[in-house]
């Protein structure tokens, strides 16, 4: 199954988005939250993110979903074409779509495409 890592400036935002996505998309998807700095502040920790990538990597690829600023740059440092890819998508909606697709057994490209569909979710 494709793994997913949610990377946010905020540890709480990443963890809660993961909880929401897991509740909608299924508990069996390898999903990790990597938010905040190591001392619990706002920011991103490359060590934390790379540990999360290892944790969710089952050999089918990993999709990184960053929120903004340093989380995007940290994600870019870990990119590895065909294996670890970044989804440039709205954080919450993209996370939910990606988890649902991964839970359905989609390939890496399929999960990425599902996450990108989140750009078109209208609320009204």
């Amino acid at each position: 199954m494709v793994g997913i890592v949610l990377i946010s400036h905020s540890g709480g935002l990443a963890a809660e988005t993961a909880a929401l996505a897991r509740q909608i998309g299924g508990a069996k998807v390898p999903l990790a939250a990597a938010g905040g700095t190591e001392d619990g502040g706002l920011g991103t920790s490359p060590d934390r993110v790379s540990a999360a990538v290892e944790e969710v990597d089952q050999g089918d690829g990993v999709v990184l979903i960053p929120d903004l600023g340093s989380s995007v740059l940290t994600a870019r440092l870990l990119e590895s074409p065909g294996q670890v890819v970044i989804a440039d998508v709205p954080f919450v909606e993209g996370a939910v779509s990606a988890v649902v697709a991964a839970g359905g057994g989609a390939s890496l490209d399929g999960v990425l495409a599902a996450a990108e569909e989140a750009w078109h979710f209208r609320k009204l």
Partner: protein, 208 residues
């Protein structure tokens, strides 16, 4: 310029960042998240510890270790950006033990290319590129014109400082400040300001 020179550069950056920490954080408070000074201070303090724990034998190794440490320890966007800049410069130096002004210039060009690639920022976006790109160009011109090393570093430091000041009227198109839109106008970009400190420190290392 040997390993000692580059170690002196990092020491000068560390002092400049410490002295400028509150100013950088104030600039960042205006258009960002008020952590640039403290983040860089933490990062370069960690670099000092890493270099002391395992002193590298070449300028390239020293800069790669500096970059890797910044990536791991800074916490904000400046970690990956400065980390990439120092790592790319270190990789450009390879195994050489003595770096000529022309090689230094090529290293700064490699740093600029790395930062541009990672951040997708161009000149005029109100980012560190607005100080780094003119500094790289000034250094390259100075080397081509055969200036003495001190004069070349002076030219680079001046260009970086002028580039940073020129970010004041710009509207941010990259980074956190871009979320502010027109409200980012009228403030110096913190990343460009710290880049000016980095090149000021290079000049200071040469006049030690």
């Amino acid at each position: 310029m040997n390993t000692e020179f580059f170690a002196a550069w990092i020491e000068e950056i560390t002092s400049a960042v410490r002295a400028g920490r509150d100013h950088l954080t104030e600039l960042d408070a205006a258009i960002g998240d008020a952590d640039h000074g403290t983040n860089l201070d933490r990062g370069f303090t960690a670099v000092g510890e890493a270099l002391a724990a395992a002193p590298p034998g070449t300028p390239g190794a020293l800069l790669v270790l500096t970059g890797t440490t910044l990536i791991r320890k800074v916490g904000g966007a400046s970690g990956p950006l400065y980390g990439t800049a120092f790592r790319e410069m270190g990789k450009a130096f390879g195994e050489a033990t003595e770096i000529s002004p022309a090689e230094l210039s090529a290293g700064v060009d490699a740093a600029l290319a790395g930062v541009r690639r990672l951040g997708s920022a161009a000149e005029g976006d109100k980012t560190m590129v607005d100080a780094l790109a003119p500094a790289a160009a000034a250094l390259s011109r100075a080397v081509r014109d055969g200036l003495k090393p001190e004069e070349a570093l002076e030219a680079a430091a001046t260009a970086a400082a002028e580039g940073a000041r020129a970010t004041v009227p710009l509207q941010a198109r990259k980074g956190r400040a871009s979320y502010l839109g027109p409200r980012s106008v009228g403030h110096e970009d913190p990343g460009a300001a710290s880049t000016a400190l980095v090149f000021g420190a290079l000049r200071a290392a040469a006049s030690r």
